[in-house]
Symmetry: C2
Subunit: 388 residues, 2 copies
């Protein structure tokens, strides 16, 4: 029997609205005020006080020593991979279950994604399985960890905190030390997600945040690099701003570099959004509990909840279908979207996309399974109007 009508009904009980997006931003704070100030003062472009302030406040909020804002998350990830030493034709360990940008950023460095399986408890990289896999396929040489099969260096691992649920970073940090891998965290989805009292993105050498329109905090489009490594932060700023040496008038650029700046206009919006992240997190947490209550009497599904010892930002609310109803996923998606309640499956697994189908990978039974069973539910914080 189809559970699609029941799923739709329970979503509607929570959202209580005829037409609901998956995730929409809300601008009820100082967004208009700060953006207006940029326009009225003329400081809309890549140098400005809101750029500096947003960087300071992102560092303070995440507890990272430094933040460097950039034009978007994909570009930020490309730059961080290059800065930790990923070179052309290296391999980089990437979850098979991720948005395509994670793999694209690796290719933009000229390196190759090498796909790994997910942990059903975190939705992120399965660290124990990766350890066993590396013992099997990799070997240490003078300058790092090598894939014995391809002969290529495995330079780094990119844990991605899926929908805001933290990867088991303490275990991954130990693995990375043992195998001499750099860690660059893809924290695009996890601003406001913590492991104990440490923010996601502060466990690896550096991390990338995203502020796309669908993220918990948006700048319209944009991202940031966060790191505790002062030298890396300085390099990140330099290479994302054309590598120009300071001078009152001369244009001396000292290396091939990018123009990946975030305009002050967008940073102003980010400052206003970040002021409200506490409310957004509270609303998303409440929304998760409402979905838990609504689906309590539907044994074929369960809400994916944060692990003990972690605090998830619940960026996208995540329903898991039981294996026996996984075949109904597309019907559930069709029914709910047709009724104006926007839902989505997780991404196509990256190794199934044509440009990544011949990349190295381990067997990914858990990711394969999750890809059939995840349904993201409407997640906007303003669905909880008492909070936001």
């Amino acid at each position: 029997m189809s559970i699609a009508p029941t799923v739709l009904d329970r979503i509607q009980r929570v959202t209580q609205a005829p037409k609901v997006a998956l995730h929409e931003p809300t601008f009820g704070g100082n967004e208009l005020k700060y953006v207006t100030e940029c326009i009225q003062t003329g400081w809309v472009s890549s140098v400005g006080e809101y750029v500096n302030r947003f960087e300071r406040e992102l560092a303070a909020y995440t507890g990272a020593a430094h933040a460097v804002v950039v034009s978007n998350g994909t570009s930020g990830l490309q730059v961080t991979l290059e800065l930790v030493g990923v070179r052309r034709d290296d391999e980089v360990l990437v979850p098979a279950l991720s948005f395509v940008a994670t793999a694209n950023a690796v290719r933009h460095c000229g390196a190759w994604p090498h796909f790994v399986d997910s942990d059903v408890c975190t939705l992120g990289i399965d660290v124990a399985k990766l350890e066993a896999y590396l013992r099997d396929i990799a070997e240490q040489r003078n300058d790092g960890c090598y894939n014995r099969r391809t002969g290529r260096r495995i330079a780094a691992v990119v844990p991605m905190h899926t929908f805001g649920h933290p990867v088991d970073m303490p275990a991954l940090v130990e693995l990375a030390e043992r195998h001499r891998l750099e860690i660059v965290e893809d924290a695009a989805e996890s601003l406001g997600s913590w492991i104990g009292d440490r923010h996601t993105g502060t466990f690896g050498r550096c991390a990338m945040l995203s502020f796309n329109g669908n993220k918990i905090v948006t700048t319209g489009g944009g991202g940031a690099i966060i790191t505790n490594d002062g030298a890396l932060a300085k390099r990140a700023k330099h290479v994302t701003t054309t590598a120009k040496q300071p001078h009152p008038w001369a244009f001396f650029h000292d290396e091939v570099a990018y123009n990946f700046r975030m305009p002050n206009l967008n940073a102003a919006m980010g400052c206003a959004q970040l002021e409200r992240i506490g409310q957004f997190l509270e609303a998303k947490r409440l929304l998760a509990s409402r979905y838990v209550d609504a689906f309590r009497d539907v044994p074929e599904v369960s809400m994916f909840l944060e692990r003990p010892g972690t605090q998830a930002n619940y960026w996208l609310q995540t329903l898991l279908l039981a294996p026996e109803v996984a075949a109904q996923r597309d019907e559930i998606l069709a029914t709910t979207n047709a009724a104006g309640q926007m839902t989505r499956p997780v991404w196509e697994l990256l190794y199934t996309l044509p440009m990544y189908s011949s990349c190295e990978r381990m067997a990914t039974p858990v990711a394969d399974d999750l890809a059939q069973r995840v349904v993201n539910l409407p997640s906007s914080p303003q669905l909880m109007p008492g909070v936001v």
Copy 2:
């Protein structure tokens, strides 16, 4: 005798203000209105009506069949070079006299800039000299034009319209056909510049525009690709927006691609700015004539003016020092900047930068000479308050 005090005095006569930037944007039109609308409706991100409208209006204004907005000009140039077929280890002909982004975009494709000299009449590529040079160093093979010395393919040429002054495009188009080179125009500085009744950027296969904060029309940060080639425009949109195939919910991406979108928030500002480009052009043209008048009695300098048959946007006002006072350039820069009248030299020639010093190049005596003699003067349209 130093002419620096005289130059300062003449600039002050024109600007009539104690502290003047080189180029500042002005937002006296619908900028705040349109941006406010984005924030109030929630449409701030990469999909939105202002993105579509800005693309339509850029196409209409330039007469190009298509425009695709992107996150910045450098990224736009990289993408267009890739789309016209520039491959890793190709060479791309680039003026030695340009902003560093022109060469960086070539390197971002994995190709190598090959530097060419400037024409003292246009400040852009000297087409006749390039023709003679190619006859000397290049040969035709099956798949295009090759550098005999390096054995690498010369895939394309990137004319850059310096400070808004058009390169001799009709001649360059003929040369490119003879030598089977693709033309990608770096029109970052030339929105509003025409050759006869054709806008710069519409002579080559495609072109890149920039809307950085210092440009004649700004979006805070951003750029656009313009082209008459419908297939190329479609590809440009696809690869700058993660190459996702349209589907109500599924994430199927069909090639390695970028996230180089322009947010709707920034496009809204661009729409408002573009409404005023007529005023900006009029003000800049008047400003040029004021500088001509002011410097009329200073025989050691001259204003660089548009060539017959072209209309320059006078983006940056350009003073040329006579050879006999070229040695005074730095003193003129120091004196004017110290007095609050911001001036600048032209860029360091690209082949002098450390990362490009071993690239191929022709002898560049004209660029070498111009690099010593150009001084850009305060150029903001609002310096002519009767117009803007």
